[in-house]
């Protein structure tokens, strides 16, 4: 492949932030001798804990502020509580959370149905955009799936008919 040379000095702003001292451990952290003071800073006021907040067991308590989105609920919530019994260093922490995420998708569908709403999965997946910008690929995928499904149905019917 041919190398297209670019003359750096022609690039707008070239070298304006060059810093020879940044090699290679320029302090990303601005050292302030606070390294060894421990958990001693004056903490901001505590946000009232009005929802269930799971906190990592690598911390003593809940942080001064936190998000209140979607507190743990149902089976996925139980799995999440289980995960938080283990440290962030353990698969025991992450695997229940991954599983809980999958369970909560099913819980989400149930919740929609309970509210009388059938989720429009096609719209949620942005099929309108696919139809506008990627039509041939979309049609091909739909056809391939349709062929696979009808083949599977035909096969199962035959087996059932035969036995």
């Amino acid at each position: 492949m041919e190398r297209k040379a670019i003359d750096p000095s022609q690039v707008k702003g070239w070298g304006v932030d060059a810093d020879p001292k940044n090699d290679p451990t320029y302090p990303m952290k601005n050292r302030n001798d606070g390294e060894h003071a421990g958990y001693s800073w004056e903490r901001p006021p505590q946000q009232p804990i009005t929802v269930e907040v799971l906190h990592s067991n690598e911390r003593p308590d809940v942080t001064s502020v936190f998000g209140t989105s979607t507190p743990p609920l149902g089976l996925s919530g139980a799995l999440r509580r289980l995960g938080f019994r283990y440290s962030e260093s353990s698969y025991g922490h992450w695997l229940p959370l991954v599983l809980a995420d999958r369970v909560s998708v099913a819980e989400g569908v149930l919740e929609d149905l309970k509210q009388g709403q059938v989720p429009n999965v096609f719209a949620e997946r942005g099929w309108k955009a696919e139809w506008e910008h990627n039509r041939t690929s979309l049609v091909r995928r739909v056809l391939v799936r349709a062929v696979l499904v009808s083949a599977a149905v035909a096969y199962l019917r035959r087996r059932r008919g035969g036995s």
Partner: protein, 384 residues
């Protein structure tokens, strides 16, 4: 209010949700005016970040007008139009005091390894984000910044993440004048990293991706050499050959968990979720850099282990530098660069989409349709 609502992998929609309230004396509530979708959101969208709960609103790159403030907010006032850095930072913990605003210890109860981030799963604090009409902004006096007069909103919204992240990627590379810098990934972050590599004095900048229109965009915007890894039989070997068989001085990973290019990594990291994502680009970065070189990682991976050639890190004597961008630390310099015309972030925005069409916007960005580089969502109140 209208808000994006995550329903499961690849499923997002717009819904009505209650408006956020002040929950802490240092909170502000903003009416959102611009809100981007980021490559980081794609990790959530694909279901690869643990503890991403159905019902959450994403969005960590937004601007907005202050509607309400808590009783301890002193610098901001109602009516201010602000840009909101993606990190939630208290300003008082030891890490914030050291300007590590991406590593605040008082904003994320769920994980000690990362600070709070708006709309970024419970692993980053469980905050509903800015892809909505309104958002709650904690520690409003610390990171949020009044948009300088005359600055375009599209530039302002990119200063909340993409610009500082690309800039920090180059900064962490410790680039010395004349260095050859290779950036993996020609998404908005990679493109900005390539652009900024020049600011630190790079002598040669190479971008690697597999999406033609993005390579083309990078070539002009950065400007740089840009290559499609699918047409290179082995990207590492290509970089070795083009650098006298020594390797690049600096390699930047701006791809992350969704990387393509290795069947093994894809199966383990993206299909089975047994890794914190596919570490293909990081693997290439480690193997393409010169002995004693620097690998700078801004790409995001899940919290579980990922396969990388650690033996080579040792044998080659590499320095690895990585972090979430410390947006507040970098803002003064970057605002200057935008105002002086050195950086032109808004040229990266290819799609301006009504908030209501969030499902399509995610699809377009994620599937790289319609030559999308960066989409921004615009709520109804900001469209008049």
């Amino acid at each position: 209010m209208l808000a994006m609502n995550y329903r499961g992998p690849l499923r997002v929609r717009i819904d009505h949700k209650p408006e956020p309230e002040i929950l802490h004396p240092q909170d502000a509530i903003v009416r959102v005016t611009r809100s981007c979708i980021c490559g980081s959101d794609l990790h959530l969208y694909n279901g690869s970040v643990p503890d991403t709960r159905v019902g959450m609103t994403f969005g960590h790159e937004f601007t907005g007008v202050v509607e309400q403030i808590g009783e301890q907010v002193e610098k901001l006032k109602v009516g201010d139009h602000i840009l909101v850095p993606f990190n939630i930072a208290c300003g008082t913990c030891v890490f914030c005091q050291q300007e590590m605003y991406g590593n605040c210890h008082e904003s994320n109860p769920q994980a000690s390894a990362v600070g709070g981030i708006f709309g970024y799963s419970h692993t980053a604090g469980g905050y509903d984000g800015g892809q909505a009409e309104y958002a709650r902004v904690p520690y409003a006096d610390v990171s949020p910044t009044v948009i300088p007069e005359g600055m375009d909103l599209d530039d302002a919204v990119l200063l909340t993440d993409v610009v500082p992240t690309g800039y920090q990627a180059a900064e962490m590379g410790g680039i010395q004048p004349g260095d050859t810098v290779v950036v993996f990934g020609a998404g908005p972050v990679g493109i900005m990293a390539a652009r900024c590599a020049w600011l630190f004095g790079a002598g040669r900048v190479i971008v690697i991706d597999c999406v033609d229109y993005r390579l083309e965009f990078a070539r002009k915007y950065a400007p740089c050499e840009a290559y499609d890894f699918r047409s290179l039989e082995d990207p590492v070997l290509f970089i070795k050959r083009t650098t006298d068989f020594l390797g690049a001085d600096v390699c930047i990973d701006a791809v992350g968990a969704e990387a393509a290019g290795s069947a093994l990594q894809t199966v383990l990291g993206r299909k089975l979720l047994m890794q914190g994502g596919a570490a293909t680009a990081l693997h290439w970065a480690i193997n393409s850099v010169k002995k004693g070189g620097i690998v700078s990682i801004v790409a995001v991976y899940g919290p579980i282990d990922a396969l990388v050639p650690v033996g080579n890190v040792v044998n080659k004597g590499l320095t690895i530098r990585a972090n979430q961008a410390s947006v507040k630390r970098l803002l003064p310099r970057l605002i200057e660069h935008v105002q002086n015309g050195i950086l032109d972030p808004k040229a990266m925005i290819t799609h301006r989409v009504p908030l209501e069409d969030v499902s399509d916007a995610y699809r377009i960005f994620s599937a790289k349709l319609d030559e999308c580089i960066k989409p921004v969502l615009i709520p109804p109140s900001a469209r008049t």
